[in-house]
């Protein structure tokens, strides 16, 4: 494969990973919540978009919106049935973490199985003909319209997210909650509402990346979600929890490394890249490239 095409592949993969990992990083940085159902939400949203495309003739944007809505909805459900009660009922930090892991694993399990039933546990893919693929010759390399869309969406998404967090009142509130969930309410900040909003945005990001990915790839199933989750974890750890630019950089870096490994013929070792990255970062620079270091506490 030409090096230029590899570059395109890496760029698109990086873009999908960026959107997905940003969702994970957002809730982890802002709410101290590691949503292990994030992957299942990704797959479920992709399935929703696919089903919609199969049933009705709608513009592509509508499909993306549907995917985002599905993701947001599922994430808010997770907030209501898992994270909120844990915030209320469990004060010990260690205990809360453990319960959160178990609860999201359970929730993800349920979603995985519901999607599995709906797809008869088969790989599902975007209906042929629902999207008009076109290839453009950009001189140095060739790119499909979907690839350009994905890349642009990721960059715009990252910029919007950063703006929201750093420049709006809601973003201030979220950063305040991230720093101290105890103090924020003393200033009148409604933590529960902010938490739900943050989860919704996180879920929407998962849904967006899922809907885009399902168009780009030949198909996906539940295991796609698991694989992405672990890679997203590696990305967030490498980039630094809560840092948008760290996340973006780390996502593209991982995508580049993985693409390289596959191209060099070691496809079965592809997943080792993410895992090795996790161990290396945690050993030598646990706060990641741009992390605040705060999240490294016990």
């Amino acid at each position: 494969m030409l090096a230029e095409q590899l570059l395109v592949n890496a760029a698109v993969l990086g873009a999908v990973l960026t959107l997905f990992a940003l969702g994970l990083s957002l809730t982890w940085g802002a709410l101290d919540v590691l949503n292990l159902a994030h992957g299942a939400i990704f797959v479920a949203s992709a399935w929703v978009a696919t089903r919609l495309a199969n049933s009705v003739e709608v513009p592509f944007v509508a499909l993306l919106v549907a995917g985002m809505a599905a993701g947001a909805l599922l994430a808010v459900v997770a907030e209501l049935i898992a994270f909120r009660p844990i915030r209320r009922l469990i004060s010990n930090k260690r205990q809360a973490e453990l319960s959160m892991v178990a609860a999201t694993v359970g929730f993800g399990f349920v979603i995985d199985n519901l999607v599995g039933r709906a797809t008869s546990h088969q790989v599902f893919s975007f209906p042929i003909g629902a999207f008009e693929f076109r290839q453009y010759d950009l001189g140095v390399f060739k790119a499909f319209n979907i690839e350009i869309i994905i890349f642009a969406t990721a960059i715009i998404g990252a910029l919007l997210l950063n703006y929201w967090i750093m420049r709006t009142r809601q973003g201030m509130a979220i950063r305040a909650i991230a720093f101290s969930p105890r103090i924020a309410p003393l200033l009148g900040v409604k933590v529960d509402n902010m938490a739900a909003l943050t989860m919704a945005v996180s879920g929407a990001l998962a849904g967006l990346s899922g809907s885009l990915m399902v168009v780009w790839t030949s198909g996906m199933d539940i295991s796609t979600g698991h694989s992405l989750l672990l890679r997203a974890f590696a990305i967030v750890v490498l980039g630094g929890v809560g840092s948008v630019k760290g996340c973006v950089l780390a996502a593209f870096l991982l995508a580049a490394v993985e693409t390289g490994i596959v191209a060099a013929g070691y496809g079965s070792m592809r997943d080792a890249a993410a895992f090795s990255l996790i161990i290396l970062v945690l050993l030598f620079r646990p706060q990641g490239l741009f992390g605040t270091g705060r999240a490294m506490r016990a």
Partner: protein
């Protein structure tokens, strides 16, 4: 696994072996070490035993080798991950498990690659399993009592407090780590003996989920919780399916997931913790009624 549960004896054996998996996670969590590396060691144990057995090595020797290798690997891993805590430690150990999986798949002839290893011939009787698990339970029971038990409690709840009490938290944590790996490997080896195969899925995500679930549902503060959890989680699919409500058996996985979710949130100390709370409530009522 469901095909295997044809007879209760087989079910009982499965519970015993999987109890070891649950113990490996429980012993770590109980010490405040969020390590799921026991699952990776389960796979290491399964493959070590299978590889040695297929080459004619004596079963007992093979088991000892499996546990020994897991101990060494766990010890090294504990040194590498010494500074990590909580979620970070947890995910790092999950990464370790996945690495084991990758190594297995890329192990060529030795590990049978994607297909795994077949034809392991090392039969084990139910009685032998009971004895082994019994010994492990005894050991865990002993570790939960007295000074060591209290030390581990403090290390789990407040590490800096433990340090200020001159408790060697580093050693205790490493020990828990290694023991977790050892028990996991023992379980994996016995599982390979029971099933006659070793497969790359032994280090996969679902196994991690199941192990964690058993401990969460049962309660991770004590080995009893892990045992209860193992039995319950393995029984659940059968139990739900046998309720016979039309169409219910298709939804067992949803019930399963909802159960983990519910217990994790509302019974953070697991069923065991819930039972203890119930007992203390009853006790308190008895005392209140006895005092005028």
């Amino acid at each position: 696994m469901l095909h295997f549960l044809a007879s209760w004896e087989v079910f009982f054996q499965t519970v015993l072996v999987n109890a070891l998996l649950a113990f490996s996670v429980q012993i770590a969590l109980r010490a405040g070490v969020f390590s799921l590396a026991g699952v990776g060691c389960w796979a290491i144990g399964a493959y070590t035993l299978s590889i040695l057995n297929l080459r004619g090595v004596n079963t007992l020797v093979a088991i000892v080798a499996a546990v020994a290798i897991a101990c060494v690997v766990s010890y090294l891993l504990s040194l590498v991950l010494v500074r990590l805590r909580g979620l970070y430690l947890g995910m790092a150990t999950v990464a370790f498990n996945q690495m084991v999986g990758v190594a297995i798949i890329n192990g060529g002839e030795l590990t049978g690659g994607e297909m795994g290893l077949y034809g392991v011939n090392a039969p084990v009787t139910t009685l032998q399993l009971v004895i082994v698990v019994g010994v492990v339970c005894l050991m865990l029971w002993a570790m939960e009592r007295g000074v060591l038990g209290r030390a581990y409690n403090i290390v789990r709840d407040d590490e800096s407090l433990a340090e200020s009490l001159a408790i060697d938290t580093g050693s205790l944590r490493r020990f828990a780590f290694v023991l977790s790996g050892a028990i996991g490997a023992l379980g994996g080896a016995l599982n390979a003996m029971l099933l006659g195969i070793a497969s790359p899925t032994d280090a996969d995500f679902p196994v991690i989920v199941i192990a964690l679930t058993m401990v969460i549902v049962g309660g991770f503060h004590s080995w009893r919780g892990a045992l209860i959890g193992a039995a319950l989680i393995l029984w659940l699919p059968i139990g739900i399916q046998s309720f016979g409500i039309r169409g219910m058996h298709e939804w067992w996985s949803v019930v399963y997931g909802a159960l983990i979710l519910g217990i994790a949130v509302y019974f953070p100390k697991g069923l065991l913790g819930g039972l203890q709370k119930l007992r203390s409530l009853v006790d308190r009522r008895a005392v209140r009624e006895a005092t005028p």
